[in-house]
Amino acid sequence: MSSVTTKQIVVPSERDLGAKDMLLNLGPSHPAFHGALRTQVLLDGETIVDAASELGYLHRCFEKHAEHATYQQVIPYTDRLNYVSALMNNVGYCKAVEDLMQVDMPERVIVIRVMLCELSRIIDHLVCVGTNIVDIGALTNFWYTFNVREKIYTLLEKITGARLTYSYTRVGGLIRDLYDGFGDDLKTVLKEVETAVQEVTKLVANNRIFVDRTRDVGAVTKEQAIAWGFTGPCLRATGVDHDLRKANPYYGYETYEFDVVLGEKGDTYDRIMVRLEEIRQSIRIIHQAMARMPKGPIMTADRRIRLPDKQEVYSSIEGLMNHFKIVMHGVVPPKGEIYSATEAANGELGFFLISDGTYKPFRLKCRGPCFPIFAAYEEIIKGSLLADAIAILGSLNVVVGECDR
């Protein structure tokens, strides 16, 4: 009888089986990649060893276009920056020009802008959270968030006439006033948003599968986030208390009651939760804005910007000349430059504007918050699993229109 020999079973590693590193393109056209982004990853099995990103697929040279358009004509271009919350770009750009001209803005314009910015922030966060969670397999939440987003779009359509690219602000004011009965519509919509956010939070916050899929995935430390130039929810998720609405208040944000939402670990879970909570804070701001909504004009009285009344145009030479100059040349800021920043949905949206005293911007540099965030993406995903890279990208909320400009 021959004795039975035993052999220890050794699980072969992928290397032993002759696996080689694989170069894989994520994007530029891929359903899980939000927009025309391309990141090339070097894979060892499912682990990302190295990564490099490329952008420019949606580049339209917004800054060059801006140099060849009048100040008011630039506004439609800004819609295309962060097209998920286009109103905030309108406001950010107009604020830069108005600050450069030192325009006295009517109170009603400012309150309406604050309210619409917060509505846009809600849309942006809803889109980000919805698509991020659907990417990692939780489909239901997508309907919850996108249903109410649709309601807000309908509301904004009623105000502005457009669903995505609003061009609602003008240098010095707004294109049209709110309609009658807007307050009631808004209340209904906000109630629905609150319910949706509540439902999504309940579905995911303590969901074992979701938590395992997002906790400690793509964690960014405070120091890293600051060094990489993160702003907005991605920075706050790491625990850095920084929100331009509180830090350098504009448009009277210091008079509104709201909390800056902070995360702890800076991982995907925190980024999603920060956004969900920020939606609730935005709702608080909108309620306060509606409560204080002052009556008054929706355009500044500044003669450099506002078209004179028809009566004046027809009856006085000054009025006629004023009208002619504004129609032919538009807004003409004085010589000078300004860097103006607002807190957009993804972080600091800055416009560096140089005026040479003519009717076109001499130079307009846009600082989109996504640009530095996407720059760090290749560092963040190194060492993580390929599937996690998708979860991380969604939570960073890179909007290519703003990244590529």
Binding site: L23, R38, Q40, L42, D50, A51, A52, S53, E54, L55, G56, H59, C61, E63, K64, H65, E67, H68, D99, L100, Q102, I226, A227, W228, G229, T231, V240, H242, A247, N248, G336, E337, I338, Y339, S340, A341, E348, G350, F352, I354, D356, F362, R363, K365, R367, F371, P372, A375, A376, D404, R405
Partner: protein, 168 residues
């Protein structure tokens, strides 16, 4: 802002060439050779821990020197900003030093000023085009680049990881 000027006057006299008034603030003008020194002082001594953005401007025909690079820093603890202006000496071969090792956020921003404005960033680890494609000729944000100029978009199979670090 004047704190920043005072600090430089005390510890690095002569570094700030000029204090220029801009709308809602001031900008500090420095010479290109001092950029890294200033950036280091801003980071280590003055607590400007965040680089917000870098912008390059072409003043062709309007002012001398032709190019200028603007740096925007932010101090998260004190919630203040500082705006540094660097006039670039040569208009044929505009150059600035890289601050990517001090502020990692400068990496792509410096690639952008190279790509769009043709400012050479010395010491940058990966000075390749970023918004335009490899093989693009010229720098579109320069004032002498015509707005209606078209260039053929090549079909390239560029591998990003192996290409890193090879300057084009």
């Amino acid at each position: 802002m004047s704190d920043v000027k005072r600090h430089f006057d005390e510890f690095h006299p002569g570094l700030i060439k000029e204090l220029r008034a801009v709308a809602m603030g001031e900008a500090l003008v420095i010479s290109p050779g001092d950029l890294r020194l200033v950036a280091l002082a801003l980071k280590k001594d003055l607590g400007f821990d965040m680089l917000i953005d870098i912008a390059a401007v072409d003043f062709k025909g309007k002012a001398e020197p032709r190019f200028e690079v603007d740096y925007f820093f932010y101090n998260l603890a004190r919630k203040t900003r500082v705006h540094i202006k660097v006039p670039v000496a040569s208009s044929d071969k505009p150059e600035v030093d890289s601050i990517t090792d001090l502020y990692p956020a400068a990496n792509w921003a410096e690639r952008e000023i190279w790509d769009m404005m043709g400012i050479i960033v010395n010491g940058h680890p990966n000075l390749r085009r970023i918004l335009m494609w490899t093989g693009f000729e010229g720098h579109p944000l320069r004032k002498d680049y015509p707005i209606n100029k078209r260039q053929p978009i090549p079909v390239l199979d560029v591998n990003l990881i192996p290409e890193r670090g090879k300057h084009s």
